[in-house]
């Protein structure tokens, strides 16, 4: 019996190593594999060319999300290339006996929203998908990360991938979050402190009171954004909040199987004295509502702050200036009051019911600003139904907003939801890269509160003034 204290990450990792290759990676077993239409077709083509079958079809789950329209989903998809990818996903899933929640299926939605809400993701699991925001599932105490298409082919054909174990980082945030400060702000704050590459090479465990007191939706938002600091993934130890969320979910264990699983899940926490390669500590009262002003998620700040001067930033000055030039911003400018054209509420980062509740709490009794085009896109049909059931649809409709249908939408603008060149969008999504929301688009990442405040005022507004 080895009594060396282990981290949560060690425990889950070590339980999944099939073989350690000397001077090489581990052969790493995968419990849950999500696929979508964009990063899977070439992997299936690879299987076909090799004459190989899917080894464990019951461990892979397909959903269509990246390419799908967010209006008129009952009609044929207009873009022939998108339609072709959706058809390929459907055919590949059928040919290999894989569960497929395509367009129109009541379970359809963004892969990182539907996986957890159906109980597919469970504590202690390893979860991968050809999508970097797979880190979302780490909220359940799973090791979850994004992979490339070659690795999708590996998982389909052998349920394993080759992975070198990452270094370990723990980020502790203690204290109580202030008014109007959300999980999104906590994540953007951390990224702004350590930069968009500050956690590259690491797997992060989030710990401390702030995460302990967070809902599962909030934890998913935080873990989702792990990749934006470069981390391979992020995870949070499962606790009563996790178990309460999972209990009764369709694919979660039931009866005796639940009791057995629960016993195991309760062991999934970092032991006293376990070693991390790096540990960071922050206090909740350092964090105000955040907003980004540059072209990577590390270029963000508190909403009441000014855009930093190039001389004070960690990254190269030339790259920083290029970033501000793209955004049409100047060093030292105030962010409050900047005119906004588009507001996007949705994505695997902030497309869950809590995010719509937050948005509604600000727009309730107010009106959408005339200069704003708003896209409100639920993460799944389940979320869409909750929005209706809770009366949120009535609130947002009265305020002049429309609800669209689920999908990745304007987060990466593969469908028609594109922000035009030069226009400014406050987005609850995860990336403010050049052209991310459409060629030439300019993205300011923020929480649903900040998005709602911009949506009703037409400018960047501190949501605390409206709460």
């Amino acid at each position: 019996m080895n009594n060396t204290p282990k981290t949560l990450f060690d425990k889950v990792w070590d339980a999944h190593v099939v073989r350690s290759i000397p001077d090489g990676p581990d052969v790493f077993f995968i419990d849950r594999h999500f696929i979508h239409e964009v990063t899977s077709p070439v992997a299936f083509l690879g299987l076909k060319n090799r004459g190989v079958k899917v080894m464990f079809p019951e461990k892979t789950f397909a959903t269509a999300d990246h390419n799908t329209p967010t209006i008129n989903q009952h009609l044929p998809v207009e873009d022939p290339l998108s339609a072709n990818q959706l058809k390929a996903l459907e055919e590949n899933a059928a040919a290999h006996g894989i569960s497929h929640w395509g367009l129109g299926n009541p379970k359809n939605g963004i892969v990182h929203v539907v996986g957890p809400e159906n109980g597919i993701t469970l504590p202690g699991m390893t979860v991968v998908c050809g999508d970097s925001h797979t880190s979302t599932h780490g909220a359940f105490g799973a090791i979850a990360f994004g992979i490339g298409t070659s690795e999708v082919e590996m998982v389909l054909s052998s349920q394993c991938i080759m992975q070198a174990k990452a270094k370990k980082m723990r980020i502790n945030v203690n204290g109580k979050l202030g008014k109007g400060v959300t999980p999104k702000d906590v994540a953007l704050f951390i990224i702004s402190q350590i930069s968009a590459s500050g956690a590259t090479g690491y797997f992060v465990e989030y710990a401390g009171e702030v995460f302990e007191n967070m809902s599962m939706e909030g934890r998913m938002t935080v873990c989702n954004l792990s990749i934006e600091s470069g981390a391979r993934g992020g995870m949070i130890a499962p606790d009563e909040t996790t178990f309460a969320y999972l209990k009764g979910k369709e694919k979660a264990p039931k009866g005796d199987a639940w009791d057995t699983a629960l016993e195991y899940w309760k062991t999934l926490k970092t032991d006293e004295g376990a070693q991390f390669d790096k540990e960071l500590n922050y206090s909740a009262d350092e964090i105000e509502p955040q907003i980004t002003y540059g072209t990577n998620p590390g270029l963000g700040t508190g909403i009441s702050q000014n855009i930093p001067f190039a001389s004070t930033v960690k990254d190269g000055e030339a790259s920083y200036k290029k970033s501000l030039a793209y955004m049409g911003f100047a060093e030292g400018e105030k962010l409050i009051g900047k005119k906004i054209d588009y507001v996007f509420l949705g994505s695997c980062t902030n497309g869950r019911i809590e995010d719509f509740r937050a948005f509604a709490s600000i727009v309730k009794g107010r009106k959408k600003a005339d200069n704003i085009t708003a896209w409100l896109v639920p993460g799944s049909h389940v979320v869409e139904q909750q929005i209706k059931d809770e009366g949120i649809l009535d609130i947002i409709t009265a305020a002049g907003f429309q609800l669209r249908q689920p999908g990745c939408s304007a987060c990466l603008a593969m469908n028609d939801d594109k922000v035009p060149a030069g226009k400014y969008a406050v987005s609850t999504s995860n990336r403010n890269f050049e052209g991310r929301q459409g060629p030439g688009s300019r993205t300011l990442l923020a929480s649903p509160f900040v998005a709602a405040a911009a949506a009703v005022t037409g400018v960047v507004t501190d949501p605390r003034d409206l709460l």
Binding site: S132, G230, M414
Partner: protein, 198 residues
């Protein structure tokens, strides 16, 4: 998918001295709609390379006839963001076999190794030397030697060693891929799977 073996690449290099080059820049999402792996090189750095009307942006390095070669030299945190392997495909398809940087994003690095593009991590100082050398003479050549794990500025002989694990090195030298390795150990995986708790 099988790829060409990598041994020693001696070539001029294309300097892209920008930090945090994310995979959305390497290949924008709207060009990810194919169901086959071909033609991605045409859209490599699409929005930095072309205007909206499809005309080339003359100030972008890939449109500058002074620079060419099989080696792309990028700034710190190259390949960040989306896990899209299409980014590595586009780089390979365009004709690059090697990307040099002082720092790579993890997923991009894995994806590149899996398809036969060698990511070479050098010190920030050596990266600066490479940029200076190319700036002084765009025809200057670099040698990337995988067996020796060295990268050399041929004009001056200055070199640095780079890291790669033995397993991946063996794969790249021989054009092997991980799927074949995993296929050969399916019984072991099957047996492991039956003992999984979840």
């Amino acid at each position: 998918m099988a790829y060409d073996k990598f041994n020693i690449v001696k070539s001029t290099a294309v300097p892209l001295s920008i930090e945090n080059v994310d995979t959305d820049q390497i290949i924008p999402a709207r060009f990810l709609k194919a169901t086959e792996r071909k033609g991605f090189g045409d859209n490599l750095f699409r929005d930095w390379r072309y205007n909206n009307d499809g005309s080339p942006k003359t100030d972008f390095v890939l449109n500058n006839s002074k620079y060419s070669g099989k080696i792309l030299v990028g700034g710190k945190n190259f390949g960040s963001g989306s896990s899209r392997e299409h980014a590595a495909w586009a780089i390979y398809d365009y004709g690059f076999r090697c990307v040099v940087s002082s720092f790579f994003a993890d997923i991009f690095k894995n994806n590149s190794l899996n398809i036969g593009v060698l990511p070479v991590t050098v010190s920030p100082e050596f990266l600066a030397k490479i940029y200076q050398a190319i700036d002084a003479d765009p025809k200057t050549e670099l040698e990337v030697n995988l067996p020796d794990q060295t990268i050399t500025l041929l004009a001056t002989g200055e070199k640095e060693t780079f890291a790669i694990d033995g397993y991946k090195k063996h794969n790249m030298l021989n054009g092997f891929d991980d799927v074949d390795y995993l296929q050969a150990m399916k019984n072991e995986i099957q047996s492991f799977a039956t003992h999984m708790v979840l």
